[in-house]
Amino acid sequence: MIMPAILIVDDEPNIVMSLEFLMRKNGYQVGIARNGSEALAAVAQTPYDLVLLDVMMPDVDGYQVCRTIRENASRAATKVIFLSAKSQPTDVQQGYAAGADLYIPKPFSTRQLMEKVRELLAKEPC
């Protein structure tokens, strides 16, 4: 069985570092993007099963990345979890409106995050 592939998108190197450790530890394949445009390129190239997406990034913001994924019919199966320091209700709303499956405010619990990741990926029909 091929383990699901997860794309980590964040401009904070230390956050990327901890997420990468967590995902690999749990056996997932991991891709990394350090800003919005890298994320768009990575998504276009690889059909990731899940994207862990930051909102505030220097060039293209997370909402835009999410909308682009949703507009791409061949990426319909890709799950998106927002991980953001923006935790206002309007921010959360905006995230779901962009097509997110889940919106988790930073700082997050690593255990809860892994539960949600597993939950989401288990629903996947394949």
Partner: protein, 945 residues
């Protein structure tokens, strides 16, 4: 034969006057046309004009023109001034200048008497002159060896004219009745004197000489005559010219005879239009031949042996044309007689009305007896007194002539007379155009003017042997040099007439205006002032009567009150009134007229209502009710409108000028109040706007605060996220490799430091923004600080391959600054530059400083990616990165520039940036060398007590 002619001529006048009176009786007036009116005005040209002008021209050249130029110049203004006088006199039934002035100033009897006295004293010598002219010319004509003495001729003349004047001048008591006979006779005489003078002039110019050019050429050939050709000929100064103009302007309006023909005898105001140009034309024509005759006389008769005043007669006599001499004699006779007649009529009416009648009326009204009989008696006496006055005036004139008159030249006496009349000018013109003029002012002014006139212009003429000592002229009265008649108060250098006019008008006008302003006028004076000044704006005299004339009906008054106060208040008001004046509401109704009946308000109300529906004769309202209603309405509408409304109810529906003005004033006050209200509402609006603005600012501040907090928490969350995640990883994975465990531990430590740094920056900024930060200022050597700052960033720059160039001269003046804060500013700017610079060895940073006026300029430049124009201001806002909502700059707290800006501003400096994308950036800091002393907040220290 001369006597025969004279009589024949006078008989002709009698005939003409009689015919005119007859025609007037049959309503076919010969007088009611502008030509007769204009000709009658030419009574202005007396024997003085006829004989005297030539005499004056012979010695003083053109100056004779002055007294004709004045009236001619004034004529265009007649439509304004004379028409107003005519209108006033018609409305007020005024018949003389004394009437006019007396009526204007509160119908003052004393003032009327004063004016009359001035007129008599001023004009009698003038009449005497005319008598002298007639008798003198008579003597010249029949030859000095004649059988008739000059004085006898004079006496005879005076007698005949007295008879004529009494017959045609004072036939009835009614002074406003026009004297058509006299007017027509005067007009005819004006024609005769004009024709006679023209014939003589033509004879001299074209008979004795060969036309105008010949006369003037011959005259110019003689040096004594040549000097007369200029305006200043024979020493007539500008002041004298001016005086002549002013005097003649006054005289043509205010001399009693002019007032008589121009105002009293005026048939229609419209006649003024033609007279305005006919009269000046007459003056022009009669003056055409003055100079030729004067020159002719001087050339043919010689200046020395003949009195120049007699040239007019002497010239035809000397050349043997006795028929022509007779004609010119008749012309002179007509000029003199017409003047005497009209002047005497005017003076006699004035004397009788203002000197005699006031005494009589006072005496008669004290007697008992039936009123009609008393009035009839007064009427008889008035007529007789006028006839007596005619005789008296002519007797006075003859007496004056007999006593001193024969010594005087024609012209001067006339001008002194003019100056007397000129004393009326302030009171008349002021009375016509200035409502502020009062009786006291007019009286004092006139008295003073008359006194000065007498002293400066009359006293010198009666100085001489056997009369007044000559020392008065040279040393002044009582030896006081300020009291010399010719140089009053030391004023010298003016000619005799100008000097007299100046001082008499000075005191006259000064006292008139001064006293008018100093003492308030009486009500009657105020009313008369209105009547005179506003004569063109009034409709009738009836409006001026104060109080309520009509008898308005009670229901009408009630309806009026209802209209403005409403039913409830009207009834209340009437109740109050009924309680106060029970007797005022006695009602003309059988049921109501009871001896002990006291009407109540309800009775009044129902009675008033009943009156509206039944046909009973309604009651007139009590005058007290009218006043009461007026006051009630005045409270609502203002006094003038209230009076007007009641007037309309009372049947006095004509709106008088005063009322309209009153209403206008009130509406002006309303407008003013309205303006005030508008102003206040504008102020209120402005306050509201300011409040709204302040609120919006507060809201914006509030929002900023929210945003700041939001951004701060967001910024704090980022390192927290890493710390928490890594800590959990470490806890959940005890089996981690040592190397990795250490990496995670170190990362946690760095993120914790970042968090701490962020918190202290936020606190720092908060302190700066709230003004709690104080600077510790001391003279700082900028070069040292710059070097230290460069040192601090140097390592980081070198690590990135950035070249750091420092150019801060050591000899810059010391900067009064907080050294640590200045260092902070430099390090912030330098580290920002390091962050902006490209990697790979191409980055360059410069730190420069140079002196400017009263300041030092610092510049930190880099060759990094630059800043867009739109963001040049925003980058100094805190968390500017965060304001681009979801965007974010890769490095930095987002607080550095905000703090830097605050620090610079704390030093009273400025910071700004010059940059373009991909062009690098230059941050400039300007720090003043001598910062303005900042006032310390006075209440911040004592607060804690």
């Amino acid at each position: 034969m001369v006597i025969g002619f004279s009589f024949g001529y006078l008989a002709l006048l009698f005939g003409v006057a009689y015919a005119a009176e007859r025609r007037s009786a049959t309503r076919q007036s010969l007088v009611a046309n502008p030509y007769v009116y204009a000709l009658s005005m030419a009574v202005y040209c007396t024997a003085w004009a006829y004989y005297g002008s030539v005499g004056r021209a012979a010695h003083q050249g053109l100056s004779f023109v002055g007294i004709y130029l004045g009236p001619a110049l004034l004529a265009p203004a007649w439509w304004l001034v004379l028409r107003k006088i005519v209108r006033v006199c018609r409305q007020q039934r005024l018949t003389s200048i004394a009437d006019f002035i007396s009526a204007r100033y509160g119908k003052s009897a004393a003032l009327g008497a004063l004016v009359t006295v001035v007129c008599v004293l001023g004009v009698v010598p003038y009449i005497a002159l005319q008598i002298k002219a007639i008798s003198g010319s008579f003597v010249v004509l029949i030859g000095s060896g004649g059988r008739v003495e000059a004085s006898v001729a004079a006496l005879f003349t005076a007698g005949v004219l007295a008879v004529f004047t009494i017959l045609f001048g004072v036939r009835s008591v009614e002074a406003t009745e026009r004297h058509e006979g006299i007017v027509l006779a005067v007009a005819l005489e004006s024609l005769v004197k004009l024709l006679a003078f023209l014939v003589l002039g033509g004879f001299v110019t074209f008979g004795l000489f060969h036309g105008f050019a010949d006369v003037f050429n011959q005259a110019a050939a003689q040096p004594a005559l040549a000097r007369l050709f200029t305006l200043h000929g024979a020493g007539t100064s500008s002041a004298e010219w001016f005086t002549l103009l002013v005097l003649s302007m006054s005289a043509v309006l205010l001399l009693p005879r002019q007032f008589q023909v121009a105002v009293v005898e005026n048939v229609a105001e419209d006649h003024l239009r033609k007279a305005m140009w006919l009269f000046p034309l007459y003056l022009l024509i009669i003056n055409i031949f003055v100079l030729p005759i004067a020159f002719g006389g001087m050339l043919r008769l010689g200046g020395g042996s003949f009195d120049a005043d007699t040239f007019v007669l002497a010239l035809p006599l000397a050349t043997g044309h006795s028929w022509l001499a007779l004609l010119t004699y008749l012309g002179g006779l007509s000029a003199a007689s017409s003047m005497i007649i009209v002047e005497t009529v005017a003076l006699s009416v004035m004397s009788s009305n203002h000197l005699l009648m006031p005494l009589l009326v006072r005496e008669v009204s004290g007697r008992s007896g039936a009123q009609p009989r008393r009035f009839a008696y007064l009427g008889r006496v008035a007529l007789q007194s006028r006839r007596g006055a005619v005789v008296l005036v002519l007797a006075l004139a003859y007496g004056y002539y007999a006593a001193v008159g024969h010594q005087l030249p024609l012209v001067n006496t006339g001008l002194v007379s003019f100056a007397a009349v000129a004393q009326f000018v302030p009171a008349v013109l002021g009375g016509l155009y200035w409502k502020g003029g009062t009786r006291r002012g007019a009286t004092l002014g006139l008295l003073a003017g008359f006194a000065v006139w007498f002293f400066t212009l009359v006293v010198p003429t009666v100085v001489g042997p056997g009369r007044l000592p000559e020392s008065i002229l040279t040393a002044g009265v009582g030896g006081i040099s300020a009291l010399r008649p010719g140089a009053l108060l030391g004023l010298e250098g003016l000619d005799y007439l100008s000097h007299g006019l100046f001082w008499s008008w000075f005191f006259n006008i000064g006292l008139y205006v001064g006293a008018s302003l100093a003492w308030p006028p009486s009500a009657l004076e105020l009313r008369q002032a209105d009547v005179f000044v506003d004569v063109f704006r009034r409709r009738s005299l009836a409006e001026e009567v104060a109080g309520w004339q009509g008898h308005p009906l009670l229901p009408d008054v009630r309806a009026l009150l209802l209209g403005f106060l409403g039913k409830k208040r009207t009834n209340q008001a009437l109740q109050t009134f009924a309680k106060r004046f029970p007797d005022a509401l006695v009602i003309n109704n059988e049921q109501v007229v009871g001896a002990s009946y006291q009407p109540t308000a309800t009775d009044l109300g129902s009675q008033a209502q009943a009156l509206g529906t039944t046909h009973q004769a309604p009651n007139p309202a009590d005058p007290r009710l009218l006043l009461y209603a007026e006051k009630l309405l005045a409270g609502t509408l203002g006094p003038a409108s209230a009076r007007l409304l009641l007037a309309s109810v009372a049947g006095e529906e004509q709106i008088s000028y005063d009322n309209v003005v009153g209403i206008l004033k009130e509406s002006q006050q309303l407008l003013e109040a309205n303006r005030q209200l508008q102003k206040q509402s504008r102020q209120l609006q402005r306050l509201t706007d300011e409040l709204r603005q302040a609120y919006q600012q507060l809201q914006a501040l509030d929002q900023q605060k929210d945003e700041f907090l939001y951004t701060v928490t967001h910024e704090l969350r980022t390192p927290l996220t890493s710390i928490r995640a890594l800590a959990e990883i470490l806890a959940d994975n005890p089996d981690l490799e040592e190397e990795e465990r250490e990496r995670f531990h170190n990362t946690i430590g760095r993120e914790a430091e970042r968090l701490t740094r962020l918190i202290s920056l936020i606190l720092d900024l908060e302190k700066l923004e709230s003004g709690q930060t104080t600077l510790v200022r001391a003279p700082v050597a900028l070069a040292e600080v710059a070097a230290e700052a460069a040192e601090a960033v140097g390592q980081l720059a070198r690590a990135k391959g950035i070249a750091l160039h420092l150019d801060v001269p050591a000899e810059l003046p010391p900067l009064p600054a907080d050294r640590d804060r200045l260092m902070q500013v430099l390090i912030n700017l330098l580290s920002n530059a390091v962050k902006a610079c490209p990697l790979g060895g191409t980055g360059r940073i410069g730190l420069l400083a140079w002196p400017a006026a009263d300041a030092l300029l610092l510049c930190v430049e880099d060759n990094g990616k630059g800043i867009a124009q739109a963001e040049h201001h925003q980058i100094f806002d805190k968390f500017f990165q965060a304001q681009h909502q979801n965007m974010r700059k890769p490095e930095g707290s987002g607080l550095g520039l905000a703090i830097t800006k605050k620090l610079v501003e704390l030093h009273q400096g400025r910071i700004w940036v010059e940059s373009a994308p991909e062009q690098g950036a230059r941050f400039f800091v300007e720090l003043p060398l001598a910062p303005p002393v900042r006032a310390t907040a006075p209440f911040s220290t004592s607060y804690s007590l």
